[in-house]
């Protein structure tokens, strides 16, 4: 098996992420929680209004998040692309949602059989 599986924890992510210009929790203005429910899989997307609002001076990472979310992206995807931890990403996205720059999508209903059937159909496609 490849040694890339289950990466060992590292003291710092510097070996693969360029150093951010600001420390992660500066981005969140010191907060560690968001008032929005943002799971790792929760989709967010930029609103039409947000695309223009986002030209206001905001952190680079916030701007990048807005641009990234021109198409729906999960919280985990935004975190991966921005190379910031998921916890920080949540707070950043929560802020953007608060300002109506992005919209937080509902999570799919895990108990809905129709959802399960549609996934099965998709997986059975060649």
């Amino acid at each position: 098996m490849s040694s890339t599986d289950d990466l060992e924890p590292r003291p710092s992510p510097e070996d693969r992420a360029p150093p951010s210009t600001v420390r992660p929790y500066v981005l969140t203005r010191g907060r560690t929680r968001s008032s929005w429910h943002l799971g790792w899989e929760t989709l967010v997307s930029s609103t039409a209004d947000g695309a223009t609002t986002a030209t206001e001076p905001i952190f680079d990472e916030e701007l990048q998040a807005v641009q990234l979310c021109a198409h729906p992206r999960s919280v985990a995807e935004v975190a991966a692309h921005l190379k910031i931890p998921v916890g920080v990403t949540r707070v950043v996205l929560g802020d953007l949602a608060e300002r109506h720059i992005i919209v937080v999508h509902d999570t799919g209903d895990a108990a809905d059989p129709e959802v399960l059937r549609r996934i099965i159909r998709r997986l059975r496609e060649p």
């Binding site: 895990a110 959802v115 996934i119």
Partner: protein
């Protein structure tokens, strides 16, 4: 001023891919994801923030853990994410976040190290998260009968077990379909 939404916003669901260190979780995700698996990090402090006795601990002690995930766009309204759990037991704190709201889980088993997936099996059983077991045959590993593996893991008879090969797209898809069909067949009261 706001335009009407032309269609409902897509929603997302997730499945957790668990198992011991080095069992092939990332390989499994890569086999069926439509994107190259992405890696994201969670800081230990993300979870430790709620723990009272951590309150005075300096942020310098932050440890990060990386985990890989993939995506399958099901149709215009559903996106499925596959999250590999961090392999080591000491990152179980992250599993709650990953398991919350998940459709279910696939526990990958390496027959050379069956004990390495005990933590995952225990965790999902305790949490009531439905799961299936996918036994990954490794080259050179002794062949096990699925019933022997079931016995070794002590999983109930209703939990599906399949032989899967994390490197093979078709086999990985089949394991995922096994989970989804299991979810459909379960009596409603069993829904976690």
């Amino acid at each position: 001023m706001r335009c009407e939404q032309p269609a409902p916003l897509p929603t997302s669901v997730k499945v957790v891919i668990a198992g011991g260190f080095g069992v092939g979780k990332t390989t499994f995700v890569a086999a069926i994801s439509e994107i190259d698996p992405l890696t994201t990090e969670a800081a230990m402090t993300d979870a430790a923030a709620h723990v009272d006795d951590q309150a005075g601990v300096e942020a310098k002690t932050t440890t990060t853990v990386a985990l890989d995930f993939g995506r399958i766009t099901v149709d215009e309204s559903i996106v499925l994410y596959l999250f590999g759990t961090p392999g080591q037991d000491r990152f179980v704190f992250l599993w709650d976040e990953l398991a919350e709201g998940a459709l279910g889980a696939i526990v990958l088993v390496d027959t050379r190290r069956i004990d390495h997936c005990y933590a995952a099996v225990d965790y999902f059983e305790r949490r009531g998260t439905p799961f299936v077991v996918a036994v990954n045959p490794f080259d050179g590993a002794e062949c096990y009968d699925l019933d022997e593996v079931r016995e070794a893991l002590d999983v109930p008879a209703h939990v599906p077990m399949v032989t899967s090969d994390a490197r093979d797209r078709g086999a990985a898809k089949a394991a995922l379909i096994t989970l989804l069909e299991y979810l459909l067949e379960r009596p409603p009261h069993q829904v976690a």
